[in-house]
Amino acid sequence: MTTFLDNFFFSYQTLIFALGINGLLALSMYTVLAVGQLSLGQAAFMGIGAYVSALLTLHLDWPFAAVLLAAMIVPALFALLIGGPTLKLTGVYLALATIALGEIIRIFCNTSDLTGGALGLSGIPNKTTFTLIFGLLALALVNFVLIARSRVGRAMEAMREDEVAAGVMGINLPAMKLGALVVSAMLAGLAGALNAHANSFIGPNDYGFDQAVTILSFALLGGIGSPFGPVLGAVILTLLPELLTALHDFKLVVNGFIIVVAVLYMPRGLLSWRIGRVG
């Protein structure tokens, strides 16, 4: 039995890791959508985390815990740079500015010598483990559930339903939005670092527009009523192309189609229940 499990794990390791990492990315998308904003920078934040962590490991040989911490802090700084001005405006500005951020990062990584140009970085040691990925995912989920049941969670839900009314009730809208964006950038950066140390190779085109839209499709398929929805969406959309190999070439077509259908016909996603309140 153990040998079977070992073999199973060995053959499907990439897929199993991808499930956990995509789950983290889906949660990072959820954080922003949960306050009624749309960021298309999750792929960029992920890329920043991946590159920062890979460079720290390869050149400075930092301990992995410190590397992961840095991979969360640096994207958070970018989130402050982009979110600071845009979150005071209407939601459209954040969406457009984050797409632009993704593009700047892609251009920079493609041309800079530091990041290895178009060839990317290779030979990153495999430091990511199963326990680490799923432990962090579970930790994130528990925290999100606790937040959802708290005062902050209720404020987030109020903002999502009606921003003006929420503002009138005394919720500090800019602070909440900026906080959500920063947390989401940290989660995406963490996922990027875990991914870089699981695949041993990263390239500048892994974090482009396609990836950004794919992360959004996780969250919209699962629904953003609770943090479990996006994770479910990520699991389905990661497994689907593996189960139906015919779909493999049309993965992006399916992701795009899911977003269209989800927005038009099932705005609450697959998992529509919300987390109950205490008190």
């Binding site: 457009l96 593009e103 700047i104 839209v213 959004l216 992006l252 077509v253 705005p267």
Partner: protein, 300 residues
């Protein structure tokens, strides 16, 4: 060194003007859609690609000359824009869904359409038949240009002039302006808003399509994702110009075009694509209302 720069400057400025014209033309339709319909329609870049492909096949298979292929492709792109708006955005408009829903639905549609197009045509670069337009250099006072560059600037000037006249002087233009101000009030005053939505979608699609054919002609490189690259420039242009501001988009388009060419010519061609985005971030921090400062509508 300095003398050399001065000597190259007129040529670079002209190239920048040509590039900037296509940016301005492209951004014009994009900003018009936002201004009147109140949505960021991300499928806009798809009309750009589609028209370039239509012109390519029109000139290859039907041997259409450019003066037929260009308007033909633009008209078809306009019709596709009307169709996509009816499928994707009209249901949301009826439901009065929040603006980010319409952004997301067009985002999904964009990924769907581009991936389908890539699956069909592949990503290799296609070229228009050489006979479609003369690429011979025309010298004018030490500055070199060709027919396609002249076509780009002339077409842009004519279209912009015509559009501004329509918006300023016609009854349809008045309906458009009233809808940009307040859609519900316009409807109550007897404006047929559905008709205006269709017509604005058509005009925007045709503008994006025209830009696609002209860019395809100028760089002679057509591939599915060309519209995506252009969209990213389009975001920069419309935010720097101010969302929904036509004059701002025109000027921002020209400025970005000229700056990109100058950056490529005198600094490094690697970073020319970053120019627009650096200006974009600077605009967001220091002047979020855009060049001419029409305050962005904060809708409740």
């Amino acid at each position: 060194m300095f003398a050399q720069i001065l000597q190259q400057l007129p040529q670079q400025l002209l190239n920048g003007l040509v590039l900037g014209s296509t940016y301005a033309l492209f951004a014009l339709g994009f900003t018009l859609m936002f201004g009147v319909l109140g949505v960021i329609n991300l499928t806009y870049g798809f009309y750009f690609t589609t028209a370039a492909f239509l012109a390519l096949y029109g000139s290859k298979l039907l041997a259409l000359p450019i003066w037929l292929a260009l308007p033909g492709a633009a008209l078809l792109a306009g019709l596709i824009a009307v169709l996509l708006d009816a499928i994707l955005l009209t249901p949301l408009r009826r439901k009065k869904a929040p603006e980010l829903s319409s952004l997301m639905v067009t985002l999904g549609a964009t990924l769907l359409l581009y991936s389908l197009m890539t699956a069909t045509f592949g990503t290799e670069i296609r070229r228009l038949p050489p006979a479609i337009i003369s690429h011979a250099a025309i010298m004018l006072g030490g500055v070199r240009m060709n027919l396609s560059q002249i076509l780009i600037v002339v077409t842009t000037v004519l279209i912009v002039a015509a559009l501004l006249a329509v918006i300023r002087f016609t009854r349809f233009g008045l309906s458009m302006r009233s809808m940009a101000e307040n859609g519900e009030a316009a409807e109550l005053m007897g404006v047929n808003t559905d008709a205006v939505v269709r017509l604005v979608s058509f005009i925007s699609g045709a503008l994006g399509g025209t830009a696609g054919v002209l860019i395809g002609l100028n760089f002679n490189a057509i591939q599915p994702y060309m519209g995506e690259t252009m969209m990213l420039k389009g975001f920069a242009v419309i935010i720097i110009g101010g969302l929904g501001d036509i004059k701002g988009a025109l000027i921002a388009g020209l400025v970005i075009g000229v700056l990109e060419v100058l950056t490529a010519g005198f600094i490094s061609s690697d970073i020319k694509d970053a120019v627009g985005f650096i200006l974009l971030v600077a605009t967001l921090w220091f002047r979020p209302v855009g060049l001419f400062g029409r305050a962005p509508a904060k809708r409740a």
